[in-house]
């Protein structure tokens, strides 16, 4: 599916480029991407590794267990599979908690582990809800945007927070409802 989307983007882009004579620009841009992907990987990958290391220590020190216990009840309702899979519960809890506090880099490794445990060839309700919660961005403190607003000289960088919370709350609720209506939990729960 992601493959098809990529194919469509490249297909539309190339055909449009042939029609409008922008093939040269496309080639130039295209060949600069691998370099910037490498740079992106080095930049975010380093931080990702740091957080993976810290989070391993946190897990061994029993901190993750605390988060899981707090979140186990709501997650059990949203993602039925966390009830029978403690590791999945821990990964999902840490992923959502990290996102919630604006630590996106810490969230990624947990998200990958949680999805790896749930992805068995079919989208289950648990996996669908987890993905929706990640694409809808449940963030109490959107740190990147704060930084940007500070840099751009906003008088009060955090004054957008109430609006952000309202928008996030509504879209997440709608998203979860939508996937609950569209996706059934698989037979294996």
């Amino acid at each position: 599916m992601i493959g098809w989307i990529c194919f469509a983007l490249i297909g539309i882009g190339t055909v449009y480029g042939v029609m409008h004579g922008t093939l040269g620009q496309i080639t130039e841009e295209l060949l600069s991407v691998p370099e910037s992907v490498m740079a992106l990987l080095l930049k975010t990958g380093g931080v990702l590794c740091l957080f993976c290391g810290i989070m391993r220590v946190a897990e061994a020190g029993g901190l993750v267990g605390g988060f899981s216990r707090i979140l186990s009840r709501p997650l059990g309702v949203l993602m039925p599979r966390t009830k029978t899979d403690p590791e999945l519960l821990a990964c999902s809890a840490m992923n959502l908690a990290s996102n919630f506090f604006g630590l996106g880099n810490a969230a990624t490794p947990y998200g990958l582990r949680a999805c790896g445990r749930m992805n068995d060839g079919t989208i289950s309700r648990s996996l669908a809800v987890f993905l929706i919660l990640n694409t809808c961005s449940v963030q109490l403190l959107p740190t990147t945007i704060f930084a940007l607003r500070v840099a751009e000289g906003a008088e009060n960088p955090t004054d957008i927070l109430p609006a952000v919370w309202i928008v996030q709350g509504v879209t997440c609720a709608v998203g979860v409802l939508l996937v609950r209506l569209m996706v059934r939990e698989g037979k294996k729960v």
Binding site: I12, T14, G17, C136, E152
Partner: protein, 165 residues
């Protein structure tokens, strides 16, 4: 915030008798593996987006949906950001900062751009990376739900900002 977090985690680890160095090293090793695993997907997604953008097809689509957005009271400077947001995190962040440059961080348009950016994630990128290029049955349901949410975010950002500010 982050130094305190790291100190706290390491301290808790020491108190509970965790071998800090080997736990940390194990985590970092997993991090490196994670990077290698997401790299191919990242490459394909970012290349596809760059072709789409460099060809001018993205600008063409922006021109197409601008009038629709206008009737929904979404200001036209926001439109490029709306299309870029689900595709590329870096791209949409630079668009957002351009908008703030042009209109000011405390303008209505600037605020809508910020609320929009803060309330949604890079949908395709997140789905692609998290599923590791796998194609589970029924993925289209999740993608369509995610896109409906993205569209709803755009509408709500504009409306809520109009209401509050």
């Amino acid at each position: 915030m982050i130094p305190i977090l790291i100190l706290f985690v390491l301290g808790m680890g020491l108190i509970h008798g965790v071998p800090i160095l080997s736990s940390f090293a194990q985590g970092v090793r997993e991090g490196v593996q994670t990077c290698l695993r997401i790299f191919p997907t990242m490459m394909l997604i970012l290349i596809s987006v760059s072709v789409f953008r460099a060809s001018g097809a993205l600008d063409f689509m922006i021109g197409l949906i601008a009038p629709v957005c206008d009737t929904l009271s979404i200001p036209s400077p926001i439109v490029p950001l709306v299309l870029m947001r689900p595709l590329s995190g870096g791209g949409s962040l630079s668009l957002c900062s351009e908008i703030l440059d042009r209109f000011g961080a405390d303008s209505l348009v600037g605020r809508i751009a910020c609320v929009l950016s803060a309330s949604t994630e890079t949908t395709f990128y997140t789905l692609g990376i998290y599923l590791g290029g796998a194609n589970p049955k029924g993925l289209w349901r999740v993608i369509s739900a995610a896109l409906i949410c993205d569209a709803l975010t755009v509408l709500l950002s504009a409306w809520v900002c109009n209401l509050i500010f």
